[in-house]
Amino acid sequence: MDCLSLIREFLQDRLGLVPERITEASTLASLGVDSLMQLELVFEFEDRLGISLPPDTRLPKTVGELLRLVEHHTQATRP
């Protein structure tokens, strides 16, 4: 599953959002993602993709920024 689909699945489950509403330009705040839920999202990514984001990672503002952050760490942890 690609990262955008993973975000969509998570937010559909937690917030009942329509997946198509979630685009790269969406701000996390506008979708109803607060700081606690951002932690949940990061946790989900780390679990599902086998990556590890450093504790001091600055959390992104948009879905696109989140995707790039995760993709960066996914590539960094590939053998």
Binding site: R14, L15, G16, L36, L39, E40, F43
Partner: protein
């Protein structure tokens, strides 16, 4: 300045029967038990006990999925009960909104124990190295109180009490004090607990105080004051009262169920689990004194009555000490025989029942009480509902492990 009086203007609960307030109280009057045979698929040994479960409660539907997802079940039950009480009091969204004169006082014995247990399973059963990032906010004991304050934007005191089985009686009593002393004009008070976690049930089993039962006998497993009593029945739930300064309630034209007139709170200071009649009697006297009530003005007592061998006779002995000759006429029932022991929420659901008993002049029975134990005789046990006789005043008692006693005194509001 005359003393500030406190009235009850709203009631709410998550009923184990699945219906609303009227349905719940009608079933209490009918002596209907919500106790069922509860079985799980836990490993290594599934649970199979009589218990009370609110299985028709849909937290997502009632609270909204985003909010429900950030709550342990005890907080979900609490938030729902509090919202129902808020609505029952005729309060609307317009009554919410950064009110420094309104607060929350909540009782829970176990807090987010299900969230913690889930975390332990992840770590020790599944061998994972970490738990959900929500574990702290799901598990913390003040989560229910905070969610309630946030939902209704109540900016006054937001306090949680964890005092075992007296938790929500104390929460209601302390809220009463907050209003009396002028700190608040309105308090959402009550309690919630979800004690059917695997480890919690096993812990209660180890104390040898859980009533046995199977699918057929479970509804009558909890038999307070009976010679056949064999222990308590765990249950989950939440109940809430809207407490309001009397003039505040009158000014907004609120319906008033009853007056909360007194509160007694003390400690046996003798033993962690062995109850003492002298300590309980003192708590009863404190509540009567604060309410300015004489013993013969009390028409009903909703007893703590857990159906343990030692607890029930001790409570009756305390009643006899305080009520003397009036004890024989004193109508007493233990509604745990029907709704189970909700741990930290039990005082709240029993306060709700006592309030309705006054408002409707109808007293619920102790279900399944066929043979009163000779150790528990001396008061007028209600085998059936009593209807139509005005109830001038009533008490609701909670006597917790740790020796923490709490009694609320209610009076009819005319």
């Amino acid at each position: 300045m005359s003393e500030r009086r406190v009235v009850i203007s709203g009631l709410g609960l998550v009923s184990p029967f699945g219906g609303g307030l009227d349905d719940f109280f009608a079933r209490m009057l009918a002596g209907e038990s919500a106790i069922r045979y509860y079985q799980t698929d836990d490993i290594p040994r599934p649970l199979a006990i009589p218990a009370v479960v609110c299985d028709q409660f849909d937290a997502d539907a009632e609270l909204g999925r985003p909010q429900a997802g950030t709550m342990d079940r005890f907080a979900q039950l609490g938030a729902a009960a509090a919202s129902r009480a808020w609505q029952d009091a005729g309060l609307t969204a317009a009554d919410s909104g950064t009110r420094p004169d309104a607060g929350v006082s909540w009782g829970t014995a176990l807090g987010g124990t299900l969230a913690y247990e889930k975390g332990y399973k992840e770590l020790w059963q599944k061998g994972r190295e970490r738990v959900s990032p929500l574990s702290v906010v799901l598990g913390m004991n003040n989560a229910a109180a905070s969610h309630i304050a946030i939902r209704h934007q109540l900016a006054g005191p937001c306090i949680s009490y964890t005092v075992a089985c007296s938790s929500s009686t104390i929460a209601i009593g302390e809220a009463f004090r907050r209003i009396r002393c002028g700190d608040a004009s309105l308090m959402l008070a009550g309690g919630s607990d979800a004690p059917l976690a695997y480890g919690v049930v096993r812990a209660w089993e180890a104390l040898r105080v859980l009533a046995p039962g199977d699918a057929a006998s479970a509804p009558r497993a909890c038999r307070p004051f009976s010679s056949e009593r064999a222990g308590l029945v765990l249950g989950e739930g939440g109940a809430a009262l809207v407490l309001e300064e009397r003039q505040h309630a009158l000014d907004r034209g609120a319906r008033i169920y009853a007056e909360l007139a007194g509160y007694g709170c003390n400690c046996d200071h003798t033993h962690l689990v062995r109850p003492e009649a002298a300590g309980q009697a003192r708590a009863l006297e404190l509540a009567l004194a604060e309410a300015g009530l004489q013993p013969d003005e009390i028409d009903y007592i909703n007893a703590h009555g857990t159906a343990t061998r030692e607890g029930d006779p001790t409570e009756v002995a305390a009643l006899q000490q305080v009520f003397g000759p009036h004890a024989a006429q004193l109508a007493v029932s233990a509604t745990k025989s029907m709704h189970g022991h909700l741990m930290g929420a039990t005082g709240a659901i029993e306060a709700l029942i006592t309030t309705l008993a006054i408002a409707q002049a109808a007293l619920p029975p102790t279900a399944g009480l066929e043979h009163v134990d000779s150790d528990c005789a001396g008061v007028r046990h209600l085998h059936q509902a009593q209807r139509g006789t005005p109830v001038r005043a009533a008490l609701s008692s909670s006597f917790a492990f740790g020796g923490s006693n709490a009694v609320l005194a209610f009076r009819r509001h005319d």
